[in-house]
C-alpha cells in the first residue's frame, strides 16, 4: 500500500494515489499529474513516482 504520508516532510500524499495511478495508466506525463495534484516538493513527488503497489500480489497469501 502507498505510505500514508511523505517520509520526509509528512504531507499526506496517499490521498493523491488513486488519481495519480489512474491518470498515469492512461499514459499522462507524471510531471503534469503531480503538478495538477499540487505536490510540489521533490520529497513528496518521489513518494508517488517510485511507489510499486504489491498488495494484489500479497493478497492470495494470508
Amino acid at each position: 500500500m502507498i505510505p500514508v504520508r511523505c517520509f520526509t516532510c509528512g504531507k499526506p500524499i496517499s490521498t493523491a494515489w488513486e488519481e495519480y495511478k489512474a491518470r498515469r495508466e492512461k499514459g499522462e506525463d507524471p510531471k503534469k499529474i503531480l503538478d495538477d495534484l499540487n505536490i510540489s516538493r521533490y520529497c513528496c513527488r518521489r513518494m508517488l513516482l517510485t511507489h510499486k503497489e504489491i498488495i494484489d500480489e500479497l493478497n492470495p497469501y494470508q
Partner: protein, 276 residues
C-alpha cells in the same frame, strides 16, 4: 517585534518576523513543530484482521492519519480530570468494520465525536479482497510532536533571514548573474542589474550571482553582494490539516510565553526576589 503576513489560509502561512533574534525565531519554529498538541490514533484494538497487512502495520498507518483537532474540547491525558484513564475529554474513539472486496479508507473510520473526524476521507488503509475482514477499534489522544512525529501539526515549518541584495556602481550589466540565478530574481534594467519586483523574498542566499560576477572578470570584489538582515526572518508554516496554520502559531506563541513566565518565576524563587 512585528509579524507581517504575506499569505495566510488554513493550510499555509507565510510571514516575516522582524525585530527578533535568531534564537527567538528558532524558538517559535520549535514550538510550532513540537509543542502544539494534535489528535492522533495511539491505541488500536484489533478484533479481526484477515488482510494481507500485519496488525502492527495497520496500527502504524492508522496513527499517521491526520485528525481534525478542536483544542477547546480536548486536553492532554496528563492534564485531564480522568487522570489519563481515557474519557471523552482526552480521547476520541473510532470504530472500523469492513468486509472485502473493498479498499478500506479513512472514511470507514467511524468517529464517536464527529468533530474529530480524519481530515481526509480518501486515505487508503488496506485493500481487502473477497472474504477478508477487518474489525478495529481505535483510540486517538492529544499529544505533542515532541513525543512522536504523528502528533506534529506542521509539515514544512522553517525560516530564513531576509535577504539584502546590493549592486554597486561597478556593475557593467553583463547579465551573467541574471542567467546564473536559479530563482530568476535578477533582471537587467538600463545599465544596471536590479532585483525584479517582489522577488526579493525568494532569494535563497546561494551567492551564485556573486560567483558569476567574479567570473566575468570584474576584479577582486563582485559588484553584486548578497547579505542577510540579522533580525528579520521569512517564515513558512504548512499545516497537515489537523489545525489551522493561524492556531498553530497562536498556540506556539502562548507556549513560549508560558515557558518564559515559568522561567522568570523559578529564577525569582532561586534568588529570593519575589517580584513575580
Amino acid at each position: 517585534m512585528e509579524i507581517e503576513f504575506a499569505s495566510l489560509d488554513d493550510s499555509l502561512a507565510r510571514f516575516t518576523l522582524s525585530g527578533a533574534s535568531t534564537a527567538f525565531a528558532n524558538a517559535i519554529r520549535r514550538a510550532m513543530i513540537g509543542e502544539v498538541p494534535t489528535l492522533a490514533i495511539e491505541d488500536v484494538r484489533i478484533y479481526d484482521n484477515t488482510s494481507a497487512l500485519f496488525d502492527e502495520m495497520l496500527a502504524h498507518r492508522l496513527g499517521l492519519i491526520p485528525i481534525k483537532t478542536d483544542l477547546a474540547t480536548y486536553t492532554t491525558q496528563d492534564k485531564c480530570s480522568c487522570g489519563g484513564a481515557g474519557c471523552p475529554g482526552c480521547t476520541s474513539t473510532y470504530t472500523l468494520s469492513v468486509e472485502g472486496p473493498k479498499t478500506v479508507t479513512s472514511s470507514d473510520l467511524i468517529p464517536q465525536d464527529p468533530n474529530a473526524a480524519p481530515v481526509y476521507e480518501n486515505i487508503p488503509i488496506v485493500k481487502l479482497t473477497k472474504g477478508q475482514k477487518l474489525v478495529i477499534e481505535a483510540r486517538a489522544i492529544l499529544n505533542t510532536g515532541r513525543t512522536h512525529a504523528k502528533w506534529q501539526p506542521t509539515l514544512v515549518c522553517g525560516y530564513k533571514n531576509y535577504p539584502v541584495i546590493t549592486v554597486s556602481d561597478a556593475c557593467d550589466a553583463c547579465g551573467n548573474c541574471v542567467d546564473e540565478c536559479p530563482r530568476d530574481i535578477l533582471e537587467v534594467k538600463g545599465k544596471q542589474v536590479v532585483v525584479a519586483d517582489g522577488k526579493l523574498p525568494e532569494c535563497s542566499l546561494c551567492r551564485l550571482c556573486e560567483r558569476a560576477c567574479l567570473a566575468s572578470g570584474i576584479g577582486d570584489e563582485p559588484a553584486i553582494k548578497i547579505s542577510a538582515e540579522k533580525d528579520r526572518f521569512i517564515f513558512v508554516v504548512e499545516s497537515d490539516g489537523s489545525l489551522p496554520a493561524k492556531e498553530i502559531m497562536n498556540r506556539a506563541l502562548t507556549y513560549i510565553r508560558e515557558q518564559a513566565d515559568e522561567l522568570e518565576k523559578q529564577l525569582g524563587e532561586l534568588s529570593g526576589d519575589d517580584r513575580k
